[in-house]
Amino acid sequence: MTLSAPGPSRNLPQYGALIAVLLANWLLFPDFFAIRLQDGRLFGSLIDVLNRGAPVALLAIGMTMVIATRGVDLSVGAVMAISGAVAATMTGAGWGLPAVLAASLAAGLLCGLWNGLLVAVLRIQPIIATLILMVAGRGIAQLVTEGQIVTFTSPALAFIGGGSFLTVPMPVVITIALLAVTALLVRATALGLMIEAVGVNRLSSAGAGVNTPVVLVAVYVWCGLCAAVAGLIVTADIRGADANNAGLWLELDAILAVVVGGTSLLGGRFGLVLSVVGALIIQAMNTGILLSGFKPEFNLIVKAGVLLVVLLLQSPTLTLFLPRPKGARPMGTVKPPVAPTSGGAKP
């Protein structure tokens, strides 16, 4: 069992694109790879990419599994706003960090449960089912904050966004930890196989005895949890909750990161690490364009162009036209034809 999709050649576009974008940043900004240690925490543009990319990477981890079941979760941005609102408001009201964390993660789980039930039990199409919470979620977040931008001064909570662990910024540490836990959860158990099976063919999977509703609910719940963690980081980072703008449009970045990572929107095979790489490609471009001094207006257009190239490189139709090293086969596993009518093991 691999953490990512099989075969190095399939992962090449993602890693290649990440390296290309990083090198481009380096050309524009020679100090890009410079990293310095200050007050026990690493600083530098590269660290910035990882740090700023953490929220989308977290969303992409949850989103990968939802997309692998042939679904999509549009509500993750709104869930970020809810979890942030809960955390800021409770901290403001004097609750301690454990209670705050528990409550805002629980809010994310609850949101995921709601999405999962709509998709798995009521069988609403995922894009519509999660659209409901995408719209309503910001309203809920505003109700929690009573329409205000709630700020707080708790250093304990702020540590999640601005602190560091062994010199590494906390958002990066949390992302790596959640990636590891998720990978363990799906690949060290049979959950990954079941997620892929449900995504490829829900009817066949149910017929084989797979508990499809539970698998579906589980991926949406996990996606809600990932979104809640991302919301906590953003809130802790700015020491406040903005119900209107926290996580705004990030669901689209998350979906993009997953697709750039090579997981098909048609469900099936998924790669968690590659989705995180996809999120980093997006963030590296954001950072690069900021550093380059281009007008920010160019940002979106350049981003779209690079993503188009990455997606085209993955397209099976295009790969057919690209020159291939001599003797290389498109699929590494094919053996010579089976011996003609050997009869095989006949009883």
Binding site: T189, A190, L193, V200, S204, G207, V210, V338, P340, A345
Partner: protein, 515 residues
């Protein structure tokens, strides 16, 4: 509008010489010759993986050939797609009708070539001409109704009519009869004979040998991508044909297993269904299944056979009656309940409800076992490989390795992999819905042998099959269904094709169920 009759020419209608095609190093076609004459129905036969589909797809330009020539009436052609093939007078009708069910019959007939007037579609002319086209086929239907409302047989005739109307000289029918009942097949054959008399050459791909002998003039047999031979149907005894297809002698017919009815009935039932049913699906029925016995469900298409087994496996939820296993009342609300009770089910539509296409053969085989163990107890990778390799060997599943996506396997091998999925769970009751449909002769015999062996080991089998000879060969008990109702039960010595047919045909209004 109709296809031109054959010009008096010495060249055959279609001459394929030395056709070759390889996929990823697998030689799917190796220098195959095929000759189709004017006014002939020519069967193209072979086991799964023999190269029939590849031949057809290479001929119609879906695949590009690696070598060889194709000549139509002496003129070389190389179409680059089905549409170009159609323009070159080669029409193809597939088992799954490739028309649009939501459009009307007339629109389907004229798709892409609608009669126009003043830049708009002339619907009046389209309807008139559609009716005229269908008349010779004995179809007087409402051409404005959506195509999907008609039976598959009617849709197929409409697809044939469309191809012929587009001046097809060569008509390729790829397993057209796979989902038709006997009457519909008869209608289709009438159409085929009419077209033959008009000089059209028909390539007929099928798995049903009876049909070959009923309607075909000539037979070409392929095996492992090579031409085995071409014969006139009249000069080729059936046993020789099977030997050509398999490349070996086959035992004449499956023999009946003998297990005295007395001994059988004395065993306590493994599973028992009382007044089990679902409204608008199948009327309440009683059914006992004992360990080691094969119970077959026979009846026409739509008689409630498939519906019955779907209820038994919980694929559809029964709304009345009760099920008991080992004498205890059980819940059957979904396949998961059934799997936990030790049931297994190979559905009729294996693409839609059986295989998980993108996943590997290994993953498909272990899926049910893993699902029963639960997600927290993953089967170690090495154990998965052992299981997969064992069944690949045991069932002779033709695949380069266990990691190949199952969707790349041929139909018969997919079916065997599905059997393996359930056998890996060591089921107590295995339900097979049309286990041999669309499967070649060789795999067919193997599957029947397998069924016998499994029962000898004490597993119970519930089988739905349209092939009565097959049912008679291996079942101890046959439940006959008609109009969504269990109408008769034959057991032991009573089981014979004649008795089953009589039970299906009998006109008992009371419809009593014998128990």
């Amino acid at each position: 509008m109709t296809a031109s009759t054959a010009p008096p020419s010495s060249a055959p209608l279609l001459a394929i010489r030395g056709l070759s095609k390889a996929f990823l190093g697998v030689q799917a076609l190796d220098g195959v010759d095929f000759t189709l004459r004017h006014g002939e129905i020519h069967a193209l036969l072979g086991e799964n993986g023999a190269g029939k589909s590849t031949l057809i797809k290479t001929l119609t330009g879906v695949y590009q050939r690696d070598g060889g020539t194709v000549a139509l009436e002496g003129r070389e052609i190389a179409p680059r797609g089905v549409e170009e093939a159609q323009r070159l007078h080669i029409g193809t009708v597939y088992q799954e009708v490739n028309l649009l069910p939501n459009l009307s019959v007339a629109e389907n007939l004229f798709l892409g070539r609608q009669p126009m007037r003043w830049g708009l579609v002339d619907r009046g002319a389209m309807r008139r001409r559609a009716r005229a086209i269908l008349m010779p086929y004995g179809l007087s239907i409402d051409v404005t109704a959506p195509l999907g409302r008609f039976s598959v047989a009617t849709q197929q005739i409409i697809a044939i009519a469309r191809a012929v109307d587009m001046s097809a000289k060569v008509l390729i029918l790829d397993e057209p009869t796979a989902s038709l009942d006997a009457q519909e097949v008869a209608v289709l054959f009438k159409v085929m004979r009419t077209l033959r008399s008009r000089g059209i050459g028909i390539v007929f791909v099928t798995h049903f040998l009876d049909q070959v002998y009923e309607v075909c003039d000539r037979i070409t047999v392929l095996r492992n991508g090579r031409l085995v031979g071409e014969r006139r149907t009249a000069e080729l005894p059936r046993l020789d044909l099977v030997a050509m297809m398999l490349g070996r002698e086959l035992e004449a017919a499956a023999h009946r297993i003998d297990l005295g009815p007395a001994e059988l009935d004395s065993r306590p039932p493994l599973a028992s269904f009382k007044a089990f049913g679902k409204s608008r699906s199948v009327e309440p029925f009683d059914l006992d299944i004992r360990p080691g016995e094969v119970v077959a469900l026979a009846g026409l298409l739509g008689s409630g056979r498939t519906e019955t087994v779907r209820l038994v496996f919980g694929m559809d939820r029964a709304d009345q009656g009760e099920a008991t296993v080992d004498g205890r009342k059980v819940r059957l609300k979904g396949p998961r309940d059934a799997v936990r009770l030790g049931f297994g089910f190979c559905p009729e539509d294996r693409k839609k409800e059986g295989i998980v296409g993108e996943l590997s053969v290994r993953e498909n085989i272990i899926l049910a076992l893993q699902a029963r163990q639960g997600w927290l107890k993953p089967i170690p990778r090495r154990r998965q490989e052992e299981i997969a390799d064992r069944f690949i060997r045991l069932l002779d599943i033709r695949t380069p390795d266990a990691e190949r996506p199952i969707q790349l396997l041929s139909g018969g091998n997919q079916q065997k992999a599905l059997l393996a999925r359930w056998l890996a769970t060591e089921p107590r009751l295995l339900i097979l819905d049309e286990p041999t449909r669309g499967i070649d002769v060789g795999a067919h015999a193997e599957i029947i042998r397998l069924i016998e062996r499994l029962c000898a080991d004490g597993m119970a089998l519930l089988v739905v099959s349209s092939e009565l000879e097959e049912i008679v060969a291996y079942s101890r008990r046959v439940v006959v269904l008609r109009d969504r109702r269990h109408v008769a039960e034959l057991r032991g010595g009573e089981v014979s094709v004649e008795r089953i047919v009589a039970a299906i045909a009998s006109e008992s209004k009371s419809g009593e169920v014998r128990q």
